[in-house]
Every structure is written in structure tokens, then in C-alpha cells.
């Protein structure tokens, strides 16, 4: 099962007149990232390596 974090500050109310196809608006892409090395240690790395090898996603992994 996937775990989640609680956030207590509330979300804003949808502004008057806001509309988008299927209620979703893409506005941009992530900024460029840095290449770094993760340490091949620990249970979560092993899960990462397994997903990478079998080309599986997180949700496929959850099942």
C-alpha cells in the first residue's frame, strides 16, 4: 500500500470562472535536474532496482 502525508493548511476555493478541459490545465514542465548517484543500499533501493529492471511503475508495484 502506498503511504501518504497529511497537510493541514487548506486548499484554495476554485476561482469564479475557472474552467479547463477535464478540469486539468498543464502549465509547464519541471526544471532541468541534476544527475547524481543513489547509494545501492537498503530495502527501498532494492525496490527501485527491481522496478527499473522489470520496467514497472509504482502502482504496478503496489498490486
Amino acid at each position: 500500500m502506498a503511504t501518504y502525508t497529511e497537510v493541514s493548511l487548506p486548499l484554495p476555493v476554485l476561482p469564479e470562472g475557472w474552467s479547463a478541459e477535464k478540469d486539468f490545465k498543464a502549465l509547464g514542465s519541471l526544471s532541468a535536474a541534476t544527475q547524481r548517484s543513489i547509494e545501492p543500499v537498503g530495502p527501498h533501493f532494492l525496490a527501485h532496482a527491481r522496478r527499473a529492471r522489470h520496467k514497472r511503475t509504482f502502482s504496478e508495484d503496489d498490486r
Binding site: A2, T3, Y4, T5, E6, V7, S8, L9, P10, L11, P12, V13, L14, P15, W18, A20, K22, D23, F24, K25, A26, L27, G28, S29, L30, S31, A32, A33, T34, Q35, R36, S37, I38, E39, P40, V41, G42, P43, H44, F45, L46, H48, A49, R51, A52, R53, T57, F58
Partner: protein
């Protein structure tokens, strides 16, 4: 019997008995993982969990650990100590400082060797550091095998983050000659984090961790981004000037001077007296980690005179201040080197034997803000023994990989798998705080998170429910420094900007806080008709190419709104 038939190229995964080993210049430690997945450190036949990495020879008999350490007084020439860092190095590159009072390292082909009387008879042998390490590994493997009742044949071993490829290869070869297949070498600071994270397995989090490994002859510090149980080293620093032996030296000098007051000789001038002085100084230092007073007492310290004295912790902390300041500088320096501020650090793990010292932990508590957890025995009652962290972490890793084929382990540790993109900025949503009109950045995925990554949060909708906006943005943080206003004196009409920083001569009080700044907008999504008191679940999934998938829905409802952003 069956052990004789052992496969030549390591043992088959199913039959392995694997332990974790921490192998320092000062001490070694061995650990295993119990059937309940708990890492435990194994005591050797003398009952020690910290086994001095020392070998000593008397009439052809080999002594190890604490017994060998005692031989530094009478038999220093045939006692080999502080050798781990010499592995895989040539004589020109090593620092032999710590071997003054034991067998001296010497050049030997492309490696380092010791000339010792390790057999009966009178011709000494030249033993390479690789062979010495093999003997040490044999002793450790034997102690572990005796304890486990099974022959130990493989290990995960911890190494400093600055070990060269040659040092790694030499260590692996030495272990192999001792009958130990090294399944993996893991960095010492990562082993320490793993030992702690195993305790909280249920709640993995995103945190910035500093691991300060303060040992006997060296101090090593690493800043590690710990993201959902994955570890990325952002910066490291190493220091050989301020470590455990330098604290011993402070006490040595203190008591030597006291001895000189009443007697005529300086006990530091006679090798045997100096060796006694050193051993007792270390014992006194350790006692000061627990008590506020400690004894120092040596029989026949010099000229056949017994010496006894005491010292209290405050006095010790005063005379050792230079060394403590050295630790502080090292740790503050590496945080800067990582491009971070102390306010960015969530956790400081104090590791290594010297980290038992209460003053070091209290210094950390004053360098770092109250929001930083300092994991040390004197500040956190649930802290793990700092001397055991590395061996425990190694044992946990050993239990994770011992059933894997060697090939699979090598494949998983290959740079093709371990080198991945890490987010430059945090990704989060805008929320509303009570006192502001504007949105507040609430991070969901932290900067320096490796991808692929997924994080899920549950966020309150406005009390009344209704239609809500989820605005996903990048966020950056900076440190805001505000001066706590002083009573106004004369007005200053000098408006030169550049002189601003030089004005803090009388150091006004500063208040420093971490402020989030809303960055690039990424997406907007609407969740409509949220119930009164309802919550919204936001899932952000970043793929290996930085493509993003966002899903938002009311908690407890099916479906929801889903959209994606292309890779940059």
C-alpha cells in the same frame, strides 16, 4: 566434509552465512540479523563488541582485539595497529603517525608491510598490510562463526566515502584470503542511516541528514539526502587532525604535567610509560562520557612510581575545547559545502566511538536549530549506540542481499542503475494560511529527490467544502535573516550598499528562518463538489525522464482528475 567441497567462486546464495563488518583503523565490529530482522552486534570470545583492530604476537601466538591492545605496553614492536587505511596504498601515500608506538609500516614493493616476530624462533617476518588485514578478518569470521554456530563465509563491509578503487580492491582481496566473500562494500555513513531507518521502517520520510562519524584516528562527515528510503550523498569531508586520539592526547598531557609536578621525569619520554599513559587516558575519557568525574590511575607509571588522580567533566571539556571546536568546524563546513544551511538539516546522526562524548552532542544542539534532531546517547534516549551503527547497518544490508546471485548484486549496483536524475527544486501545491491572502507553498516532493518518484498527500479542503483548486508549482527555499531591532541610536546617512555586511561589528541578534518561494507553475486542477470537512488526495508521480503525472480526487472517492506534463 561439506565445507571442504565449498564452491571455489563464493558460496551459492541459498547456503550463505553472511554478516556485517565494520572495520576501522581503531576498532572492528561484527553483526548479524536475527530471524526477527533485528541487527545485533556480536561479542567476541573476550566479550567485546568493539574489537580493537590490532594483532600482536608473543612466542608465535597471535593475540587480537583488547588482548593485543594491552600488548602495546610491553610488546609494541610485535603489535600491529592502525593499519586499515594502508590497504591498497603505497608507502609514500600513507600517514604512519599513529604507528609510532607499535610496529612501523615500511615500503614493500608497491604496498606497505610490517616486520614482526610472528612465529617462534628468532627470524622476524615481513608481513604485508594485506596479510595483516586477512588475519584480522579471520579472527572476526571465527568469532562470528563461533557465535552463530555456522561457518560465516560472506560479508557486507563498511568503508569510508573516500576509499579509492585500489583500497576497495585490496580490502576485498584480504577478506577473500580469509575465506570471506565480500558481497558488497557500503559507505560508512549510509550504514549508520540504515541502522536508524530500520527502526522506523513503517514511516519512511524525506529528510536531510548529516552523519558525523567521529572515530579514533579520523573524523568523516557526510550530508545525505534521504528520500523515501533512498540515499544520495551530497557532500563529504574528512579530517585527520581532530579525532578520538586527540582527545586522549589532551588527557595524556594533562596528567603527564600533573605527574611532573610531583616527580622529576616526564612519563611521555619513555615509550613504556607513554603507552600506559595513553591507555589510561582513553579509559578516563570514556568514563567521562558517562560520569561527571573520572579517575586516572596507573601502576608504576614512571620510575616505578604509581600515579593516581581525578578529573571532572567540566575541566576536561575546557582543556579539550580545541578538539571539540575542530569537530564543529568540520560539520558546519560540510553543510556549507553541500550548499545548505543548518536550517535545512532535519537530523544529525552522531556515529563512531567518539560520538559518545556528551559535549559533542550538546555542541550540535547549539549549532543546529531546535527543529534538528540530534541522534546521540546524551541527547536522545532511544539513540542507537554510536559504536554499533556501522556494523548494524552492514548486517541489515547483508540480510537484504545474501540470497541474491553475485551477478544480480553487481548489476543492481552498476552506475546504469544508480545514476539517476535528482529534482533541482521542490514540487508542491499552494495552500491557504489563515493570516495571508496569498497561497503558501507546501512541498510534496523535496528537492534532491531521485526519480522515478511518487508522493501522495492528503490536504484539507476549505471547511465548507465545495469546488477547490489544486495548483501545482515548483518551490525554492532561502534563508531569511532579520535583525532583531536594537534601540535606535544615531541615524546613519551612509547609503552605500556594499558596506552593509561589514557593519555587524557589534553583532546584533539575528533571527534566521527558512522561507519558501513559489516558483514555476506546473499545473492546475479542480476537484469539484468536495464534502464539508472533506480532504483532497494529490498524487504526484515523476518519471525517470521528468515527465509528471498528477492525480487529484476527494479522499474516499473513485476516479478523480488526472493529467500529465511532458518531460522538459
Amino acid at each position: 566434509m561439506s565445507a571442504e567441497e565449498a564452491v571455489t567462486n563464493g558460496s551459492a546464495p541459498a547456503e550463505r552465512t553472511t554478516i556485517g563488518i565494520s572495520f576501522g583503523n581503531s576498532n572492528s565490529s561484527i553483526a548479524y540479523t536475527t530471524a526477527e530482522d533485528k541487527a545485533e552486534v556480536i561479542a567476541n570470545e573476550d566479550g567485546d563488541r568493539q574489537i580493537p583492530s590490532i594483532l600482536s604476537y608473543v612466542d608465535g601466538d597471535e593475540y587480537n582485539g583488547q588482548q593485543a591492545k594491552q600488548q602495546l605496553v610491553r610488546n609494541s614492536k610485535n603489535t600491529v595497529a592502525y593499519f586499515r587505511d594502508f590497504l591498497g596504498q603505497d608507502f609514500k601515500s600513507i600517514d604512519p603517525t599513529h604507528c609510532h608506538a607499535s610496529a612501523h609500516p615500511q615500503a614493500h614493493d608497491s604496498t606497505v608491510a610490517f616486520t614482526i616476530q610472528d612465529k617462534e624462533g628468532d627470524s622476524p617476518s615481513t608481513v604485508t598490510v594485506g596479510e595483516i588485514a586477512t588475519r584480522q578478518f579471520k579472527r572476526l569470521a571465527r568469532s562470528a562463526s563461533d557465535f552463530l554456530g555456522k561457518k560465516v563465509d560472506s560479508a557486507v563491509v563498511t568503508i569510508p566515502t573516500n576509499f579509492s578503487d585500489a583500497q576497495k580492491a585490496a580490502l576485498i582481496a584480504s577478506a577473500a584470503d580469509a575465506g570471506l566473500e565480500v558481497l558488497q562494500l557500503i559507505p560508512e555513513p549510509i550504514a549508520a542511516i540504515l541502522a536508524y531507518d530500520a527502526k522506523l521502517e513503517s514511516k519512511v520520510s524525506d529528510k536531510m541528514v548529516v552523519v558525523a562519524d567521529l572515530g579514533g584516528t579520523r573524523s568523516d562527515v557526510a550530508v545525505v539526502a534521504s528520500r523515501g528510503g533512498m540515499y544520495t550523498i551530497l557532500a563529504t569531508a574528512h579530517d585527520y587532525e581532530y579525532a578520538g586520539v586527540h582527545l586522549d592526547k589532551v588527557l595524556q598531557d594533562h596528567f603527564a604535567k600533573e605527574f611532573i609536578k610531583w616527580n622529576t621525569t616526564d612519563p611521555r619520554e619513555n615509550p613504556r610509560s607513554l603507552a600506559k599513559l595513553k591507555l589510561e587516558a582513553e579509559a578516563t575519557k570514556k568514563a567521562l562520557s558517562i560520569g561527571t568525574n573520572a579517575n586516572f590511575s596507573v601502576e608504576s607509571l614512571a620510575e616505578g612510581i604509581d600515579f593516581a588522580s581525578t578529573i571532572n567533566r567540566l575541566r576536561y571539556e575546557t582543556i579539550a575545547r580545541k578538539v571539540f571546536d575542530g569537530f564543529n568546524r568540520l560539520i558546519e563546513g560540510v553543510v556549507k559545502k553541500a550548499g545548505l544551511d543548518v536550517l535545512d538539516i532535519d537530523e544529525v546522526i552522531l556515529s563512531g566511538g567518539t560520538s559518545h562524548t556528551p559535549k559533542i552532542a550538546s555542541n550540535m544542539a547549539s549549532i543546529f536549530p531546535p527543529s534538528t534532531t540530534i541522534l546521540a546517547p546524551s541527547t536522545t534516549p532511544t539513540a542507537i549506540n554510536p559504536s554499533e551503527l556501522q556494523a548494524r547497518g552492514a548486517a541489515l544490508q547483508a540480510s537484504l542481499i545474501q540470497e541474491y546471485e553475485k551477478e544480480d548484486i553487481e548489476q543492481s549496483t552498476h552506475p546504469a542503475v544508480t545514476t539517476v536524475k535528482h529534482l533541482t527544486n521542490a514540487v508542491g501545491v499552494l495552500t491557504i494560511s489563515s493570516d495571508e491572502e496569498q497561497g503558501v507553498f507546501t512541498p510534496i516532493i523535496a528537492a534532491e529527490t531521485p526519480v522515478p518518484a511518487r508522493r501522495i498527500v492528503h490536504i484539507n479542503a476549505p471547511k465548507e467544502g465545495g469546488d477547490v483548486l489544486v495548483k501545482v508549482v515548483e518551490g525554492g527555499s532561502h534563508i531569511k535573516v532579520s535583525q532583531i531591532p536594537k534601540p535606535p541610536k544615531e541615524a546613519n546617512d551612509d547609503e552605500d550598499d556594499s558596506s552593509e555586511e561589514e557593519e555587524s561589528d557589534d553583532e546584533p541578534e539575528e533571527h534566521r528562518e527558512k522561507i519558501w518561494k513559489v516558483g514555476k507553475p506546473l499545473a492546475e486542477a479542480a476537484v469539484k463538489g468536495v464534502k464539508k470537512g472533506g480532504k483532497v488526495e494529490v498524487t504526484i508521480n515523476v518519471a525517470g525522464d521528468l515527465g509528471v503525472t498528477i492525480t487529484v480526487r476527494e479522499v474516499g472517492e473513485k476516479g478523480g482528475v488526472r493529467g500529465s506534463l511532458p518531460a522538459p
